[in-house]
């Protein structure tokens, strides 16, 4: 095959380009960042819940003791 023909040969759609990979990586990073934000928002809520329950448990134990 002549070199010129090789240049005209269409690229396979399944082969990701460098640009695709970069976009994929960027999307993955954003996804991870969003997950991290949700995790910490959730952890804040669950930490508060645990603290409330612990305090009421302590009060309960204290009143039982009295």
């Amino acid at each position: 095959m002549e070199p010129a023909c090789r240049k005209d040969k269409p690229k396979l759609n399944s082969t990701p380009t460098r640009g695709d990979r970069a976009r994929q990586k960027s999307a993955q990073q954003e996804h991870k960042q969003r997950q991290r934000a949700e995790i910490y928002a959730l952890n804040k809520v669950m930490t508060e819940l645990e603290q409330q329950q612990f305090e009421s448990f302590c009060k309960q134990m204290q009143s039982q003791g009295e």
Binding site: A37, N43, M46, T47, E50, Q51, F54
Partner: protein, 335 residues
């Protein structure tokens, strides 16, 4: 001690349970029970994972899922986390949706990894590490984000520690031990060893683990727990017995009875070592030993460990390789 954050998932099929069941090599196990027991969950000071090879024990009704597939967290694990919290939290799905559907969520600051400076004292360095772990926060979500297999080679666990730093997410007690080891590697004047606790409250057993540290004749600890007095202790305790007694005293505040203490061997500073961490070189049944005898055994173990290091240092100096791998399972019977 936690509030009743234990999962109260009823109706979980046995197929699901067995798929997420505990393997002997892992210290982090997935949901095994359905029913929550509020009183025991309320008293749980820490949801520590079980050690490998231990008999089946109810961990006080406090259970957790484990993310085993890396980051970003894949769909099944992610949805499971949210389903779990929706069951546990009084506001249920509404709470979950509020967060998941929020257009904007504040970006939690990524804490800077502590870097050791030669001018820092060992206690200051430990404070710096502990502050870093506290900045990551204790994980109350019910899903452990990093899988820690206690039987893995140290090198593999150090890779997990690097992942914890990279991903910067909340952690629990076992993860904190691994991270503590990683961050203290290279500080050869500091020895690190795991301390595991098994306690009992209201007929339920609870497990916890911290990283014991020893430097210049003093003992302390690093770790993470729901309760601030069950994690870091300053490098101020003259003996190992004193340090453990301090933890026992902390547990008593939550009406927990200490049942067992397991002390591991010093962890090597070389992060590329292939051998696993020795988690239970000394196992003490606190229920059968009196306080005085416990202290005596712990102090003896502390001396043995220090002598072992001295012996190895001495032989190393004389270009002798002396591997002293005596497994010391204490003769005191365990339940």
């Amino acid at each position: 001690m936690t509030g009743p954050t234990s999962p109260s998932r009823t109706g979980t099929s046995s197929a699901k349970l067995s798929r997420h069941g505990r393997s002997k090599s892992t210290s982090a196990h997935c949901l095994l029970r359905c029913a929550a027991r509020e009183e025991s969950a309320a008293s749980s000071p820490n949801n520590g994972a079980r050690s490998p090879g231990e008999e089946e024990e109810k961990d006080g009704g406090v259970l957790f899922y484990v993310n085993r597939t890396g980051f970003p967290i894949e769909g099944v694990t992610w949805e499971r986390m949210w389903s779990h919290v929706a069951v546990v939290h009084p506001e249920g799905q509404e709470m979950a949706d509020r967060i998941r559907n929020a257009a904007y969520l504040p970006k939690h600051h990524v804490p800077s990894v502590p870097t050791f400076k030669p001018s820092m004292s060992v206690p200051d360095w430990l404070v710096s590490i502990q502050n870093y772990m506290k900045a990551l926060q204790y994980n109350h979500t019910g899903t452990q984000f990093f899988e820690v297999k206690k039987s893995r080679p140290l090198s593999g666990l150090m890779e997990t520690a690097r992942e914890m730093i990279r991903e910067s997410l909340p952690i629990k007690c076992l993860e904190a031990v691994i991270l503590g080891i990683y961050l203290t590697n290279g500080l050869t004047s500091l020895e690190r060893f795991p301390i595991s606790f098994k306690t009992q409250f209201s007929g339920h057993c609870f497990h916890h683990v911290v990283l014991g540290v020893y430097c210049n004749g003093r003992y302390g600890s690093l770790g993470m727990s729901r309760r601030p007095d069950l994690m870091d202790k300053p490098l101020a305790h003259r003996t190992l017995g004193e340090l453990v007694a301090e933890f026992e005293s902390s547990y008593k505040r939550y009406q927990h009875t200490l049942k067992k203490v397991k002390i591991g061997l010093y962890v090597p500073h070389d992060p590329h070592v292939f051998q696993p961490i020795e988690w239970k070189h000394l196992v003490l049944n606190a229920a059968r030993l009196g306080a005085q005898e416990m202290r005596k055994e712990l102090e003896k173990h502390g001396r043995d460990m220090r002598m072992k290091v001295a012996c190895e240092t001495h032989t190393h100096t004389h270009t002798h390789t002396h591997t002293h791998t005596r497994t010391h399972t204490h003769s005191i019977k365990t339940t």
